[in-house]
């Protein structure tokens, strides 16, 4: 079942483009990565889905319900961690979390304690005294305390130190294991690669590609690096070879196509070393922006 169905969603801010004709689905139980550089439309898409802003045209459904008409019902089962966290400065962390929890049915006190313990968050401090990273932790607890079925994470790791990032990722994995669907927006590809099963790549307000993270890596470039005496870069001037870099005895390049053709070519050379690697998502990603 699709948890999120977005169809031809378009948003203009006056004349400025937000997103244009964005369509994609997010399936139940998956961690969907949403990657793109700043200004590509990641936050716009999330804000549309939360009906913080209204679409110019197109539609979006969450849990099978239209976001513009059934917003309040949908948001009962949604957790949202915004990229920039701002809370009522005068409040204490615990009071803010209680206020947040009061919007959802049930008692969430235990969950608040658990989560803040995991994230090492001091509940008795004032929001105005918190550092950016600590505010981010408040945001994480706030987004998770009501055990939502769908999580929107908008660049969630900025401001967290690596240790906290790891704890946070574990937390998200745990949630996901319990069946929570995660919509993970980021411009840091490494973290998307670590966490997500599928990715949507957004560029200039439109979806550039949606694919399984494995197929994205497999059907794409191979990074080849060979070391040998008398290497001639011209010898590898064959279709599918790009980004040739030659350094004394080492030649590295990207290859896309039938792997046998390039292996046959490499076979003609007497090698002293070879590595063939999957490209990182980073490298794949750059290709969409070339």
């Amino acid at each position: 079942m699709s948890i999120i169905e977005v169809s031809k969603l378009t948003k203009y801010y006056g004349k400025a483009r937000g997103i244009v004709d964005v369509s994609f689905n997010v399936e139940e139980g998956e961690i969907f990565g949403f990657i793109g550089p700043n200004g590509a439309g990641k936050s716009t898409t999330i804000r549309l889905l939360l009906s913080l802003i209204h679409p110019t045209s197109g539609s979006a459904k969450i849990f099978g319900q239209d976001v513009t008409t059934n917003g309040p019902q949908i948001r009962r089962s949604i957790g949202y961690l915004p990229s920039e966290v701002y809370y009522y400065e005068g409040m204490k962390v615990l009071d803010l979390l209680k206020y947040s929890a009061s919007f959802f049915e049930g008692d969430h006190t235990k969950r608040i304690r658990e989560l803040s313990e995991t994230m090492e968050l001091d509940l008795n401090r004032r929001i105005s005294d918190l550092s950016y990273g600590n505010k981010k932790k408040v945001g994480i607890v706030q987004g998770l305390l009501h055990s939502p079925k769908l999580l929107f994470l908008d660049e969630p790791t900025s401001g967290l130190d690596p240790l906290m990032q790891r704890k946070f990722f574990n937390l998200i994995r745990e949630e996901n294991a319990r069946g929570v669907t995660v919509f993970f927006s980021s411009h840091i590809l490494g973290e998307v690669q670590r966490l997500c099963t599928r990715v949507g790549i957004i560029r200039d307000g439109g979806i550039a590609d949606i694919s399984d993270i494995r197929t994205l890596q497999q059907n794409n470039y191979k990074k080849v690096r060979i070391t040998a005496d008398d290497l001639k870069p011209e010898a590898f001037g064959m279709p599918g070879v790009t980004n040739v870099v030659s350094e004394s005895n080492t030649l590295s390049f990207f290859f896309k196509g039938d792997i046998n053709t390039v292996l046959a070519k490499i076979g003609t050379v007497r090698l002293s070393d070879i590595t063939i690697e999957e490209p990182t998502l980073e490298e794949i990603f750059m290709h969409y922006y070339e």
Binding site: R47, S83, F103
Partner: protein, 269 residues
């Protein structure tokens, strides 16, 4: 209505309500304590007032006031109370939704399972409750001040009650005008200048409107609709003006709901 939002909103204004309430109490009690002095020297006062330019007297509404009667004198006090209440109500009106947007807490609130109508209704009711606390304080301090300092002079309690009953609609009008303006401008960066502008602007429009010629601009200001001096002179409300005031408030509120439901809440830019 959402009780959580209502309580939260009421709580964050508590300090402000306290300060405003104390201020108007001080104003009423101190000002009205001068009443006996005024009455004793009423003739001297009239002499003195004659020497002022009529424009100045008009500006403070003093031409319409009989300062030697309890309610005549109180209507002058009430004018300043109204000015305070106007600024307070405008302040709450301008800040009602704009503060959340400029301090970027709107994301937090509106990503919760509540509708925009619920949010706005809860906020409005909370602001009205806050204003009513101040309103109540005005009632109490008025009766205390009059009992203490009227020096046995007679007055019409029914008329005083009418005067005080007008406070609710007076506050509501500034609340709703402030709110609608805050929704019409792109972004309210700081609430106080707007509130002072609206409060003083409306006051000045009433005070000097008569001097500007035949254009009845003053019909637009709540200070005119609920002018205490005129009410004391005529012995009651000017009903068409009160209706005009209520109509303006209702229209502003209706428009505010429409605008707020369709409003885009922008992220940090």
């Amino acid at each position: 209505m959402n009780p959580n939002i209502y309580l939260h909103e009421f709580r964050i204004r508590l300090k402000s309500v306290l300060v405003w309430s104390l201020s108007v109490t001080g104003l009423i009690v101190f000002f009205f304590s001068l009443f006996t002095v005024f009455v004793d020297q009423a003739e001297l006062m009239q002499e003195l007032l004659k020497r002022y330019p009529p424009e100045l007297l008009e500006a403070f509404g003093m031409t319409k006031m009989d300062m030697s009667s309890v309610l005549g004198f109180y209507s002058l006090v009430f004018l300043f109370v109204q000015l305070c209440l106007a600024i307070q109500a405008s302040n709450y009106g301008f800040g009602l939704v704009s503060i959340e947007e400029s301090e970027l807490t709107a994301d937090f609130l509106l990503s919760k399972p509540v509708s925009r109508v619920q949010v706005l209704t809860s906020k409005l009711l909370a602001a009205l409750t806050s204003l009513s606390v101040t309103n109540l304080v005005v009632w109490v301090s008025t009766f205390v001040a009059i009992t203490l300092f009227s020096g046995g002079h007679e007055y019409d309690p029914a008329l005083l009650v009418q005067l005080l009953l007008g406070i609710v609609i007076f506050q509501l009008s500034f609340l709703s005008i402030g709110l609608i303006i805050s929704l019409l401008v792109k972004r309210v960066r700081s609430v106080t200048p707007y509130a002072m502008g609206l409060g003083f602007g409306a006051y000045v429009l009433n005070a000097f409107g008569g001097l500007l010629g035949d254009v009845p601009l003053e019909l637009l200001t709540p200070f005119k609709h609920l002018d205490a001096a005129i009410m004391v002179q005529n012995g009651g409300y000017d009903l068409p003006l009160v209706l005009l005031n209520v109509t303006i408030s209702v229209l502003c509120l209706a428009a505010a709901y429409i605008l707020y439901i369709r409003r885009d809440i922008h992220a940090v830019s």
